[in-house]
Amino acid sequence: MIVEASSPTIRQHGSSRVMVPGMEHLLRPARHFLSDGSFSVQYPVGYTVFSPRLTLPLSRVMNSQACAFRLSTFHLYFLKSLSEDIRNTVGNVPMEWYQDYPHIGYDLEGKKIFKPIRNKDELDEFLDKMENPDYWRTVHDKMTSTDIRLTDEQISLVHRLQSGQFGDVNFNEYEPYIDFFSGETMIHPVTNRPQDKRSFIPSLIEKEKVSKMVHAIKMGWIKPRKPKESDLQFYDLWAKEDPNAILGRHKMHVPAPKMKLPGHEESYNPPPEYLLTEEERLAWEQQDPEDRKLSFLPQKFSCLRSVPAYSRFIHERFERCLDLYLCPRQRKMRVNVDPEDLIPKLPKPRDLQPFPTIQSLIYRGHSSLVRCISLSPSGQWLASGSDDCTVRLWEVSTGRCMKTVEVGGAVRSIVWNPNPAICLVAVLVLLNPYLADKLVYNATDQLIASYVEPEEERPQPVQWQVPEIEDSDKGFRLIITHPKSVKQVTWHSKGDYLASVLSDNSNMQVLIHQVSKRRSQNPFRKNKGLVQCVSFHPIRPYFFVASQRCVRVYNLIKQELMKKLMANCKWISSMAIHPGGDNVICGSYDSRLSWFDLDLSTKPYKVLRHHKKALRGVAFHKNYPLFASGSDDGSVIVCHGMVYNDLLQNPLIVPVKVLKGHTLTHNLGVLDVAFHPTQPWVFSSGADATIRLFT
């Protein structure tokens, strides 16, 4: 049977789905056997099959196993049914059913189709495969148990189908498409039929229906549909997020930085002041591209038409993209603080009185810079040592120089014995490094005279001498000769011991002397850096040694290092211990003053940088909460430094006054500061050979 078709396309009504021949097996056709033995293939509803004319003689039945290609049963059936009258009519039943029979089915006339007498065995199959050149195009038809040799046309058809082409060679799948129902609006109606009456007369039935519904609504039979309750529960991912949080989702949006708007420079016809002169242009060219203020040279064109393409356009776009990509999208929280709030709440200086405010007296008499000053414990006398190799004693209240003592060298350090019962001044001399004790009261003389020679002489690092008579009349009482020049002396608060610092690089930098026994000892075996100054703790047996960068605190009884205070400065120049003993201030040559709270930390509690130049001297007041620092800038800064008994309360440090008066000489200003023992007065000695009293 031949199915004829006029058009090769398969159309679906209402859609443009196209089915091509050869693809039919994708659909499930239903076969209907007709009464004449032929059958028709019915595709699912909506498809009309247009099949190309195929005439394939199915002469041979081939073994499907050996076939070089496989065709579906349907295809074979299709091919076979179209070609010959040797036809099995058993239908699509498994051929195994006929395994035990001699026939294989029935032909069109109802006669049995017999199986071949001899079945091919494996050997035959193999021989056939080896010998028959047409083996590859032979297919086995199970229905008739015959081998069919495919013709060349069939082979080519199979090839085409395999490669996804149309079966018909002549079929052009890209033919122009004629659309019956185009989108265009036609000017003529498709039909000439007049409109129905019902199209313009309201429908009575509908009216009745509507009135019924209206009545039902009025009677309350019909109720409006309840709004559909959306029971969908969504989980709000951001519900628990704090909207005010710094990292809030929406707050994190950082808009891209805006590009600068073009200015006059970018104009094609800029005002002449924007055009670079020759030197400017040269300078521009010399500059590093990153340093240039403008990334281009402003140019002038007669008209916009003559402006050439911008050569750096791509480059700049790229740069911009880079900027956007690389720009740090970090949110910097703007701190909206009143600058006033940042200033610590300190009491006003005038609430912290008394403190020295004004220069009151000038002690004149020295002829060279006054390196050191010291007050007598009673506050009546002031001792000063100067580079003019003299020690002078002044009456504090009038500024009168009461006594001048010639010593053999520049006086680097002078300390009044803190014990009020002993009137001694420890003076130290640079060039002839010896130590002179100077006496005013006879009681002190007796004290020194009461010294009894020890029975066995001990080796001493220094020489103790009782001065000659003429020196004794000048005031010298004891001379301690050091091997090197002495930088500093300091008394213990009991007044018997004194420590001296030698300008020496060996381990003998610090010596401690006992006046009553005339003994000296070197407390340190090792040299731990250049010692700047030393000091005794006012109450406890501690000893402070300031080297260049740190202050070491030793316990003299246990003979061990207790603390090491790191001063955070380059070179300590001076040190003072609070009379309570728990606080230390250090002045340094890099113009810092560090306040240490020994109970708090080994780092400075506060660093004050009030001075402009190196600090030379610092001092604490004995009774008043005051400390002062003198500097090379010629000023003395007095600070209120309140130390509370409450351990939880940190010291209160308030700078209260800058005292100026000294003139700068040889770039040196104030060399030493000292407080009056009882009054809130500060003395400063300067390089201008004066001592000044500020009250």
């Binding site: 007296l361 506050g379 009546q380 209240s397 009038t398 500024g399 009168r400 009882t678 009054q679 009250t695």
Partner: protein, 423 residues
Amino acid sequence: MSQLQVRFFTENAKYKVDDVPFSIPAASQVQDLSNIINKLLEAKHSKICHSNVEFDFLVRGNFLRTSLVNHMEAEGISTEEVVEIEYVQRFMAPQPEECIMHDDWISSVDTESEWILTGSYDKTARIWTQEGKAVMTVAGHTDVVKDVAWVKRDGVTSLLLTSSMDQTAILWEWNVERNKLKARHCCRGHAGSVDSIAVSPNQTKFCSGSWDKMLKIWSAVPTDKEDELEEQRDRPRKKQKTEQMGLTRTPIMTLSGHIEAVSSVLWSDNEEVCSASWDHTIRLWDVETGNMKSTLTGSKVFNCISYSPLCRRLASGSTDRHVRLWDPRSKDGSLVLLSLTSHTGWVTAVRWSPSNEQQLISGSLDCVVKLWDTRSCKAPLYDMAAHEDKVLCVDWREDGLLLSGGADNKLYTYRYSASTSAA
């Protein structure tokens, strides 16, 4: 130019004018007002019997120093009412008389009716005549003489006191006729420099204040008996002999209570001693019982005090630029009645006028001696700027001789006619 309604009055009957209000320019200065008064007096008396007199004017008890309107603005006086202006004859400026050169700084000065006694840093005291002639040198101290005082004059002999940094005060007897000086008593007992001495008004006792924080009361009557001094026993015998000037005298009483050095003492009457100290207090002591009566607390170290029996006020000079007036009778009050402010340095010496209850002089480290009237506390009446260095001591004699000594080794004397005061 605005006008002011003023009414002039005076207590001096000689210069009285009619008690009627005048309208005068508000910007009038002292000189203008003085001219007005003179014109009025001329009109009242005949031109012949009135000579031109300089007047000073007081508005509500304060001297006029600026223009009238400025003064009233500063004092807060309404310009609507009639202003009562008192006028007095202007004090004549002190006339410098002598400049007495010393060898060293002058630490103290005391005058008597005829002689001037000065203490100096060269360890001596000197007696001068009023004309500046050195009469006597009082040498004996081993250290700076800090204070001097006349005790009394008894015919041809005078008693005088010197105190020194060598911790002693010495009572001298000076025979004026023979010009012989004899140390009668060496007053030992202080353990610090004796900075101040004061003789009681009845001239039998004197008080000394020292750096050892003590006040000691001594007898000022010379005797021939030597007091025992216990702590002198262990001293070397030899030294004691060499240093001894006169017979040793021990104090009658020791007043302790000051916690710092005593800088100045004085007797306010025969039974009361007043002392000023570095501990910022002025203390009043009862000499009979030795008790402290009251304390006046200041804020600065006191350098000097002076008491005027006329106005019964204390004047104090401190280590600041103010002269402060106190009422010693106020109980434990630290009330400053008035501050006289014009100095630029520490006030080292003050002295009330012995005759005028409103005037005092002060010396300061700013090298100026100022004459004050308490009715004008912002500006002094006169500045005496003769000194070239610190002024350390001033004195005012009853007949109007002002003296000031200082660190320029010079003692200046001025003649001041306070008698012209209308009051």
